[in-house]
C-alpha cells in the first residue's frame, strides 16, 4: 500500500519537475497575477487609510490582502491540473497498467492527491516569497505581514493550505476518475473553478458582497482557508469563522474528499 502509493507519487512529481515549460509556467503565473491584478486593483485607494485593516481582514493594504488570497487560488488551480493529468493517463494507456496491477485501487487517487499537495505547497511558497519580494522593487507594493507574525504562524499558514490542497485535489481527481471524456472534464473544471474563486473571500472581502453571495461564500472551503490564513499572517481580529472552526472544517473537507476519490477509484478502476 505505502510502497506503490509513494512510487506513484514520485512518478507524478518527476513528471512535474522534468517538464521545463510546466515549471516555468508554475513560476511565471503567480508573478503575472500578483504583478498585474495585485497592483492594478488598488481597492484600498477608496477607503480612508485607518479603516483599511477593518475592510481587508487585518491587512495593511489591498495587495497584502490579495497576496494571501492568491495562495489559496494558486492551490485551487494546481489541484485542477491534478485532475486533468488523470485524463491524459487514461488516454495514453498508463491507467490500464495500474488497473491490471495488484494494487489497492485507492492508491491511484491517494498518490495523485499527495503529489498535487506537494506541488500546490511549492507554488504557494513561491507566491509568498514573490509577494514579499515586491517590497524591494521600487514602485511596487509588497506583502506586509502582521507585526507579530512568527514561525508558528508560518506553519499554521501552510498547514491550512495543505488541508485545502488535499480537499480540492480530492474533488478534481474524483471528477477525473468519474468523467472519462476529456471535453466533459474541461467543461466541468471551468464550470467549477471560476465560481469557487470568485464566490470566496480570496479576491475580495466578504462583507462588501451581496447577502446571498456572502451566504454561499461562507461555506466555500477556499473562504475557510484564506480566512484562517489571514488570521495567521495579519492576526486578523475579526475573521469570518474562528480559526479552529476553519481548520476543523478544512480537515473534515479533506478527509471527505479523499474518501470520495477512493470510492470513485474502486468504482471506476475495477473490472467493468
Amino acid at each position: 500500500m505505502i510502497r506503490e502509493t509513494s512510487a506513484l507519487t514520485v512518478r507524478e512529481l518527476k513528471h512535474w519537475y522534468r517538464i521545463k515549460i510546466q515549471m516555468f509556467m508554475t513560476l511565471i503565473q503567480p508573478i503575472v497575477w500578483l504583478g498585474l491584478f495585485g497592483q492594478a486593483f488598488n481597492f484600498g485607494a477608496f477607503i480612508p487609510p485607518e479603516q483599511i485593516p477593518i475592510y481587508f481582514a487585518g491587512a495593511p493594504d489591498y495587495f497584502s490582502f490579495l497576496a494571501v488570497g492568491m495562495l489559496g487560488v494558486i492551490t485551487l488551480f494546481t489541484c485542477m491540473f491534478g485532475g486533468i493529468s488523470l485524463i491524459w493517463d487514461r488516454r495514453f494507456g498508463f491507467l490500464t497498467k495500474l488497473r491490471v496491477a495488484p494494487i489497492p485501487r485507492g492508491s491511484v487517487p491517494v498518490s495523485r492527491i499527495s503529489s498535487t499537495m506537494v506541488r500546490a505547497l511549492f507554488q504557494a511558497v513561491i507566491v509568498f516569497l514573490i509577494a514579499l519580494g515586491f517590497n524591494y522593487i521600487p514602485g511596487l507594493t509588497g506583502l506586509t505581514v502582521g507585526s507579530s507574525f512568527n514561525a508558528l504562524d508560518l506553519i499554521g499558514l501552510f498547514v491550512t493550505l495543505a488541508l485545502l490542497a488535499l480537499g480540492f485535489a480530492g474533488i478534481f481527481i474524483s471528477i477525473g476518475l468519474l468523467v472519462e471524456n476529456q471535453e466533459t472534464m474541461f467543461a466541468l473544471v471551468n464550470l467549477l473553478n471560476l465560481p469557487i474563486m470568485f464566490a470566496s473571500a480570496a479576491l475580495f472581502p466578504l462583507a462588501q458582497m451581496p447577502t446571498w453571495l456572502q451566504t454561499v461564500a461562507k461555506y466555500n472551503p477556499l473562504t475557510w482557508a484564506v480566512d484562517a490564513a489571514r488570521v495567521f499572517v495579519f492576526q486578523n481580529p475579526n475573521p469570518i469563522h474562528p480559526v479552529w472552526w476553519s481548520m476543523t472544517a478544512l480537515a473534515l473537507f479533506a478527509v471527505l474528499m479523499i474518501g470520495v476519490s477512493v470510492y470513485a477509484a474502486r468504482k471506476k478502476l475495477s473490472a467493468t
Partner: protein, 335 residues
C-alpha cells in the same frame, strides 16, 4: 500438464446488443503457447481483457490457476503479466525508471528488483537505452520495454495482446525470438492474440480460430492444416458450364466448391493429380484460364472454418462491427 486457464461459456455483451464474445469454451495447458487467431473485432481482445481482470464477463466463468476472474481479481493480478495492445509505458520516465515503477507496483523485493531489471533489459536488448527517456524510443523499443515490464514479477502466465501489431518485419521476428526464449527458459504459459497467420503458425502450440465472438476451430496448427485433408487446386474456368460433377468424379478429389467461375478443388497429392483434374475440364469442353496449387496453410484453415479468407474477414468484420454499432446506436435512440 494441467489446465492453467479454464474458460466456460464465456460471454461479453457491450451496450446490451453487441455480443463481442459469444459463449466460448477452451482450456490452456500449463507451459504452452496458446494463440487466438482472428480478424479485428472478432473478440480476441475482449477475451483477453476479461482474463486479465479489466472487463467483467456478462456470463460464464473463467478460471486462472483455479481463481475466478470475476471474484478474485487481486489473486489473479499477482500471477499474470500483460503486454497490452496499446502501449502503457510512461513516456516521461526513462526505461529503467519505468521498470522500477513496475517493480514497486508488483512489490518485487528491492534488492532482487535491481538484478531482475538488469536481466530483463538485457533480454529485450534495451540495456544501452535504459537510461534514456521513453519518448525517444522507437515503436519496437517501446513494445520490448512493455514485454520486459510484463515479466518483472515472474508471472506464471503472460498475456500478449497483438504483440507485434504495427511493428516492422525485423522487429517482429525479434519479438518472436523473445517469446520463444521465454517459454523455453522459464517454462512460462503464454496466451496471445494475433491476426497474423505466420505468427500463430510459427509461435503457437495450439490455436483457436475466433470469429464473431465464437471459436470456430481449436487445435495444433499442424493438425488444423492436416484436417484440410489435402491440397487445394484453385481453378478458374471460362464459360457458363458447371464442372462440379465432372470434377468430383476425378480420382483422389475429395471436395469441390464453386464460387462464380472459380473452383476450389480439394485433392489428395495435388501435384500428381493436377494434370488429371485439368484434363477432365478440357475433355468436357472447358477452358482453364488460371490454376494454382495451394499447400495447406492457416489461411486455408481459416477459410475452411469461417467460410472466408482472413483478409476478407478483416474487411467485412470491421463492417459488421460498424453495422452493429449503428444498430446499437439506433436502438438506443428509439428508447
Amino acid at each position: 500438464m494441467a489446465a492453467i486457464i479454464e474458460v466456460k461459456d464465456l460471454v461479453k455483451v457491450f451496450d446490451k446488443t453487441i455480443r463481442a464474445v459469444d459463449g466460448i469454451n477452451f482450456e490452456v495447458q500449463e507451459g504452452e503457447i496458446f494463440g487466438f487467431l482472428g480478424p479485428n473485432g472478432a473478440g480476441k481482445s475482449t477475451t483477453i481483457n476479461m482474463l486479465v481482470t479489466l472487463l467483467k464477463p456478462t456470463s460464464g466463468t473463467a478460471l486462472i490457476m483455479g481463481h475466478d476472474v470475476a471474484k478474485e481479481p487481486d489473486k489473479i493480478r499477482h500471477i499474470i503479466g500483460l503486454v497490452p495492445q496499446d502501449l502503457t509505458v510512461d513516456d516521461d520516465l526513462s526505461g529503467r525508471e519505468n521498470m522500477i515503477l513496475q517493480s514497486d507496483l508488483y512489490n518485487v523485493p528491492k534488492q532482487e528488483a535491481k538484478e531482475r531489471i538488469d536481466n530483463l533489459l538485457g533480454l529485450v536488448k534495451l540495456e544501452d537505452a535504459a537510461d534514456r527517456m521513453v519518448k525517444t524510443y522507437s515503436g519496437g523499443m517501446r513494445k520490448r520495454l512493455e514485454l520486459a515490464e510484463g515479466l518483472i514479477h515472474r508471472p506464471s502466465i503472460l498475456f500478449l495482446d497483438e504483440p507485434t501489431l504495427g511493428l516492422d518485419i525485423q522487429t517482429r521476428s525479434t519479438m518472436w525470438a523473445h517469446i520463444k526464449e521465454l517459454k523455453e527458459k522459464h517454462d512460462m504459459t503464454v496466451f496471445m492474440t494475433t491476426h497474423y497467420l505466420d505468427e500463430a503458425d510459427s509461435l503457437c502450440d495450439r490455436i483457436g480460430i475466433i470469429d464473431h465472438g465464437r471459436i470456430m476451430a481449436l487445435d495444433a496448427p499442424s493438425t488444423l492444416k492436416k484436417s484440410l485433408g489435402g491440397d487445394v487446386l484453385q481453378i478458374t474456368v471460362g464459360g457458363d458450364k458447371d464442372f462440379t460433377t465432372i470434377l468430383s468424379a476425378v480420382a483422389n478429389v475429395v471436395e469441390v466448391k464453386k464460387e462464380g467461375s472459380e473452383y476450389r478443388v480439394k485433392v489428395l497429392k495435388g501435384e500428381r493429380e493436377m494434370s488429371h483434374v485439368l484434363k477432365s475440364i478440357s475433355d468436357n469442353g472447358g477452358e482453364v484460364s488460371s490454376v494454382s496449387l495451394q499447400r495447406p496453410n492457416l489461411d486455408q484453415v481459416f477459410l475452411e472454418y469461417t467460410g472466408k479468407s482472413l483478409r476478407d474477414a478483416e474487411q467485412s468484420g470491421s463492417m459488421d462491427r460498424g453495422q452493429r454499432m449503428a444498430q446499437a446506436h439506433q436502438s438506443r435512440r428509439r428508447q
